[in-house]
């Protein structure tokens, strides 16, 4: 085919845009909230709220990949949009490399977006069908003040870096490309502004397995080449384990567990994370899952259960779980493994504190 191998060269790691130094997290999210009103009745007044993102706090370190996993409706895509300020948060603060986003004395949203870009799941609908792809890629630089010639040159260079020959693919329209090629174009468009952070919202989920593997390899190479930081949102636990350094598990708008990937995959704490891991398919016809690790579907985020939101599906729920909602013990650093569960909080009064059974859905049975 005419796709060329990505040309990867080392890049200068000392970035003049770096403000906070190595130890300063790239992103700090504190208590981010986004509630969507549901209107109804003859006066069209709000009758309820979808609590899509409800008090989410986490950090993203420089140069790492943070995986975000959760089932549909858990708020992971809303979180991505809130991070980009495509949807302004209702409450909470976002700190980009030490500067509050949109805050007084902070960094403007527009300047933040120059350094943080996003790749969406649907590779076709996120491209303009009436622009050749090289112009779609150049558009971002034009918006940020580059001349037409500069923007086009940058766009063609970026196409070659994502493994597409600019002579062949540059003048094509989105409908003339395959799914994998379109997603490469979207990645090029995100990278042409030379961002430091890329948010990948289910960027490989719609691709076929063989193409998904190509794109994951590309993302790994580009990350090294451009010294990028990724926030990688996916529902595929195998992919998240492959790409991430740390991960965050969401359930109904809340973070239930956060920590280094290996810790979570081998020693998951929260019953939901364990169930999620046990739901992975084994790839081995001799080891079939006999009992579903969880029953039922996730509840409606409009009226989430009181207390711990997972208690309606949890095998260890006690009265305390309905009364108080468990909190993460703090803002997790790069080595911390935190979970929001009463079973791990000695002050909660849950009868299993310090005595959480290991024989819950076996976490590691399907690994390897």
């Amino acid at each position: 085919m005419t796709e060329t191998a990505p040309s990867i060269a080392p890049v200068d790691p000392t970035d003049t845009r770096d403000r906070g130094g190595k130890a300063q997290p790239m992103l700090i999210a504190r208590e981010l909230k986004k509630h969507f009103p549901i209107t109804g009745g003859i006066l069209n007044r709000p009758v309820g709220h979808v609590r899509a993102v409800d008090g989410v706090s986490f950090t993203v370190m420089k140069g790492e990949t943070l995986g975000v996993v959760g089932e549909s409706g858990c708020g992971k895509s809303t979180l991505a949009r809130v991070l980009m300020h495509l949807i302004p948060p209702d409450d909470g603060e976002l700190i980009f490399d030490g500067e509050g986003v949109g805050a007084r004395d902070g960094i403007e949203v527009r300047a933040m977006r120059r350094q943080m870009q996003m790749v969406f799941q649907d590779s076709y609908s996120s491209l303009n069908p009436r622009l050749p792809v090289e112009e779609s890629i150049a558009y971002g630089q034009r918006v940020h003040g580059a001349s037409a010639a500069e923007a086009k040159a940058a766009s063609r260079l970026m196409l070659s870096k994502v493994g597409l020959d600019p002579e062949v693919f540059g003048p094509r329209y989105p409908h003339e490309l395959s799914g994998g090629q379109k997603q490469r174009v979207n990645i090029a468009r995100a990278l042409v502004l030379e961002p430091r952070v890329v948010i990948l919202d289910e960027a490989v989920s719609a691709l076929d397995k063989s193409v998904e593997a190509q794109v994951l390899n590309l993302l790994r190479h580009l990350k090294r080449h451009f010294s990028l930081t990724y926030v990688f949102i996916s529902h595929d636990l195998n992919v998240v384990q492959y790409v991430s350094d740390r991960m965050l598990v969401m359930y109904l708008g809340e973070v239930v567990e956060i920590g280094p990937v290996d810790d979570i995959y081998h020693r998951a704490k929260h019953p939901y994370t364990r169930a999620l891991l046990a739901s992975r398919l084994s790839m081995d016809p001799e080891i079939r899952v006999e009992e579903p690790p969880l029953t039922g579907d996730p509840p409606n985020p409009i009226n989430p259960p009181s207390g711990c939101r997972f208690r309606t599906r949890c095998a260890f729920a006690e009265s305390v779980c309905a009364e108080r909602s468990p909190k993460l013990p703090g803002l997790a650093g790069s080595e911390d493994h935190f979970t929001a569960c009463h079973m791990y909080d000695s002050a909660s009064g849950h009868s299993r504190v310090g005595n959480v059974p290991d024989d819950l859905p076996a976490c590691d049975a399907v690994a390897s």
């Binding site: 397995k209 636990l237 992919v239 384990q241 084994s282 006999e290 579903p292």
Partner: protein, 333 residues
């Protein structure tokens, strides 16, 4: 199981979509059989022809633009020569189908119970009340909690998992002998997908149906299949029992599919991806359809399409590099 004729057989079935501009060769000379009580998984990527094969069995493809050749027989009846009215007797009765997206497959303006009852009435000629009673039984069979209340629910009032269960209930309403499942768990979350897979496996064993299950996910096939057929470019390129194909794949495409499946423990290393993209079926390659992406391709691979090579009991693959015996690929590995 082996001495009686197969429940379903397809012989040299090809499906072409003809339009003024071009002809799409969606399915090419597919041969497959399904025995009573067997689960066959068709594995393939998008555009490989797996869904078209399924729809050809039900003759659900647009009549004027589709050319189906070959022979399809279901329980001894020739599907391709059947009249429309006999076909609609057959659909939902002897053969029924579940689709990927239950929200679009169910009718939004009728309650779930009514839709199931209507199917029962159409095929068994009973009253709608008797149909509703049967619908309740079915919802309980597929483990829908508080089934009586859910009978009156409309599709949009149900969660994704429940909707898919309702569709399974509807497809089972007339005790079909063959169930065709077209990616029924792809749109579901991981924790719900495994519930539905376990349910389907249990129902299949209880009711003794033959099931053809289309999926792109090797993990799903490992979970549910007895036999698998791997499709690429409209052809079945490899078939055999699920453990043989997944543990000892012979066709380079199957091998590539397995090695490009992401595992967590490959972190920090490149995945062995298959380069390139699937062929355009408007202009199928002259030789082996996988040759342009195959690392082992030789000159013959680009010229003549490979024949189906029998490489073991009930095990075959379409590759020039295989010899008819139980040997591995001669070069490489």
């Amino acid at each position: 199981m082996t001495d009686q004729p197969p429940l379903l057989s397809m012989e040299d079935v090809s499906v072409k979509f003809v339009s003024r501009e071009h002809t799409v060769h969606a399915v090419n000379e597919v041969n497959l059989t399904l025995a009573r009580g067997e689960v066959l998984c068709i594995i393939g990527e998008s555009g490989s022809g797996k869904s078209v094969t399924m729809r050809a069995i039900m003759r659900l493809l647009p009549m004027r633009r589709t050319k189906i050749t070959g022979r399809i027989s279901v329980a001894g009846q020739d599907i391709l020569s059947m009249s429309q009215s006999k076909l609609s007797d057959l659909r939902g009765d002897l053969v029924s189908m579940i689709f990927q997206e239950p929200m679009t497959a169910l009718d939004p303006v009728y309650s779930v119970g009514h839709q199931i009852a209507e199917t029962v009435r159409r095929h068994e000629g009973c009253s709608i009340e008797a149909g509703m009673a049967r619908a309740l039984e079915l919802l309980e069979l597929v483990k829908v909690p508080s089934a009586e209340r859910r009978l009156k629910a409309y599709p949009h009032e149900l969660s994704g998992g429940l909707r898919q269960r309702a569709m399974i209930a509807m497809s089972l309403s007339c005790r079909p002998e063959i169930l065709l499942a077209d990616e029924p768990t792809t749109a579901l979350d991981a924790t719900v997908q495994i519930q539905v897979l376990i349910l389907l496996r249990r129902l299949q064993a209880e009711l003794g149906m033959g099931v053809i299950f289309v999926t792109h996910d090797l993990g799903v096939a490992a979970e549910i299949a007895d036999r698998v057929a791997v499709m690429y470019g409209g052809r079945i390129v490899e078939s055999g029992t699920v453990s043989e194909v997944l543990r000892n794949p012979q066709h380079p495409y199957t091998q590539g599919m397995l090695s490009s499946t992401v595992h967590g423990n490959m972190r920090g290393t490149d995945i062995e991806a298959i380069p390139g993209s699937p062929p355009d079926m408007r202009r199928p390659p002259a030789g082996c359809s996988f040759a342009p992406r195959c690392g082992l391709a030789q000159a013959t691979c680009f010229k003549t399409p490979p024949a189906d090579v029998v490489i073991g009991t009930a095990r075959s693959a379409r590759c020039h590099l295989l010899t008819p015996a139980e040997t591995a690929i001669q070069t490489g590995t």
